[in-house]
């Protein structure tokens, strides 16, 4: 009797568990699936089959048009340039800073840590008015360089904490042993520490790349010439400028998703480290 009840409870529990899991999976995937679906729906079927689960005939036409007849390849390239340069700069600068925070004890260290922490919780909308003006006076509006400088600064604090946590994970003994064996600190750094931190640097690179790839507001504010637009800005102005071409817009969105998803796949195993480093320290 008791065994029967517990078995029934277990089956019910199992149904509940898988039901809940399925609900989360559908909630996470449905919007992305829908974008993909509209992007392969031919223009002629959009109004008759706009809300069916899959169009009766699918087409790559929207993707071809986006790649051949619009400025999106240019926007895509601009976004790649901005994101890659930002990610590389941040990783180098944050590795140096994270190394200092992990391996040295010095006066003012706590102040530095608190300052980094404050800038990380700092709402960026605060600096929108002054940055808009300062960048204008420096002649850095309408330039990818201006965006790269801003994005690099915005990502430094988080990346430093992340790199510090990776350096903290490497036993100090390794470095000391190398130094006893006659290496200078910089040699120990080059031969022992950097090779061991490479995965951490990869993770930082990925996080910063995704952050720069996603940024919209500063890019929208600072960039107006077509040749310098990032993908986010291009997509948004595309919506404003043309009578909405749904299929092309969604095809462009799916293309913009690809780098983010690739990096995400690569970053999966660092997610927990990264977010806990960011959340606990920031």
């Amino acid at each position: 009797m008791i065994a029967g009840r517990s078995r029934k409870a277990r089956i019910l529990g199992g149904i509940g568990l898988y039901g809940a899991v399925a609900a989360y999976v559908i909630f996470a995937l449905f919007p992305l699936f829908w974008t993909l679906k509209i992007s392969v729906t031919p223009q002629s079927l959009l109004y008759s089959e706009g809300i069916t689960l899959w169009p009766s005939s699918a087409t790559w036409e929207n993707y071809k048009t986006v790649l051949r007849a619009t400025d999106f390849p240019r926007y895509f390239l601009n976004s790649v340039i901005v994101s890659v340069v930002t990610a590389v700069l941040v990783t180098i600068i944050a590795s140096a800073a994270g190394y200092a925070m992990s391996r040295f004890s010095f006066r003012g260290k706590t102040t530095v840590a608190v300052t980094l922490l404050l800038t990380q919780t700092f709402p960026l909308v605060m600096v929108i008015p002054p940055i808009y003006r300062i960048m204008g006076e420096l002649g850095l509006t309408n330039s990818l360089t201006g965006l790269i400088i801003i994005y690099t600064a915005f990502n430094i604090a988080f990346a430093t904490f992340l790199m510090q946590s990776f350096f903290d994970g490497i036993p100090k003994d390794l470095e000391e042993a190398a130094m006893i064996d006659g290496c200078s600190r910089s040699q120990a750094l080059r031969r022992v520490i950097i090779p061991l931190t490479l995965p951490g640097m990869g993770a930082t690179l990925g996080f910063v790349f995704t952050a720069a790839w996603s940024e919209l507001l500063f890019a929208l504010m600072l960039i107006s010439s077509d040749s310098q637009k990032t993908f986010a800005v291009g997509l948004l102005t595309f919506i404003g400028k043309f009578a909405v071409d749904w299929g092309q817009m969604m095809a462009a969105s799916v293309l913009a998703l690809i780098p983010a998803c690739l990096f995400f796949g690569f970053l999966q195993r660092y997610l927990v480290t990264g977010l806990t480093a960011g959340a606990v320290k920031g």
Binding site: V25, P31, A97, T121, P130, S186, L216, A260
Partner: protein
């Protein structure tokens, strides 16, 4: 570096080298930190100071003049700002509440073994990787009756009298960005809470189970106290983040219709960028910063008093 031939140095040179080493030991960390600190100073701290000073000025096309507290006085009688503050509160509380509880639920699910867990985990965390402007656009499209199914589903369920866009109705428009924000933000809570759950020693659960505690009692007496520190810090950070997060709303509604989704963050952005009123935008930004600092201080006080009494 020059230190490689230390063995061949005279005592005098060696003394000089050691004092140099002492000097460099104090100097070295600052050398490594300097690029990061300089950048933060130039791109964040200096603009912040400028921003505060802008809030005492009025900007017109070619010049700006000092106007004292006039911008702050204007804040007091701005009906749009009053509405934006209420919208910010609703946007933040509703988004945070749903993100947190759905995130906690997901973390608890992923803490249990089940078939296909690795794949499921990759899928449910995916929205976090989607750029926020794309999250906003995707949801805006889902709510659009031409290409999106949601209005028709809401109509079929009897929740709406006709399949129209909820984003174009001031009474319901805020739900659009809130739902997009929840979709986008659930993985953050799920990931951080999952990390915290994994750090709970399993002996504790076993001991509680042996003592006859039911699952709910185990959750309240064992799991929650362990999660509490993570919850406190993530909720605080997320509140600040959501309250100042303008992308989704800007992309989906630009604050409309009729200002019904205008939050303080979108208001700052629109006043600085579209109406070019940088002085006023800065005053609003200072107000927002003051409110957020007040919130953080209150929350930290509450947390401290809870720790003291427990």
């Amino acid at each position: 570096m020059a230190m490689q031939s230390t063995a061949a140095l005279t005592p005098q040179q060696e003394r000089r080298a050691s004092s140099k080493r002492r000097f460099s030991a104090a100097f070295e960390p600052w050398l490594y930190l300097s690029p990061a600190l300089v950048l933060l100073l130039v791109v964040l701290v200096v603009p912040l100071i400028f921003g505060v000073s802008y809030s005492f000025r009025k900007f017109s096309a070619f010049k700006s003049e000092y106007v004292g507290l006039a911008q702050y006085r204007a804040l007091l009688s701005d009906p749009v700002l009053g509405q934006a503050l209420m919208n910010t509160l609703w946007w933040t509380v509703a988004s945070l509440f749903l993100q947190f509880f759905l995130g906690l639920g997901l973390a608890l699910l992923l803490d249990r073994p089940f078939f296909g867990k690795k794949v499921v985990q990759a899928i449910v965390f995916l929205p976090w990787a989607v750029p926020s402007f794309l999250s906003g656009l995707t949801w805006a499209w889902l709510f659009n009756p031409i290409v999106g199914p949601l209005p028709h589903w809401l109509f079929a369920l009897g929740l709406k009298s006709e399949p129209t866009n909820i984003l174009s109705d001031p009474a319901t428009a805020m739900w659009g960005p809130i739902i997009a924000n929840v979709w986008f933000g659930v993985p953050f809570f799920a990931i951080t809470l999952l990390a915290a759950l994994k750090s709970i020693p399993s002996e504790l659960h076993e001991a509680a189970a042996i003592d006859g505690a039911n699952p709910w009692q185990r959750f309240v007496k064992v799991t929650l106290p362990f999660l509490a520190p993570t919850i406190a810090i993530t909720v605080m950070l997320r509140t600040i983040w959501i309250a100042t997060f303008a992308d989704l709303i800007y992309v989906m509604t630009e604050g409309g219709p009729a200002g019904s989704t205008n939050t303080v963050a979108t208001y700052i952005y629109v006043s600085a960028f579209k109406t070019l009123d940088k002085g006023y935008a800065s005053a609003v930004a200072v107000l927002l910063l003051a409110l957020l600092i007040l919130y953080a201080v209150v929350l930290i006080r509450i947390r401290r008093s809870l720790v003291r009494y427990s």
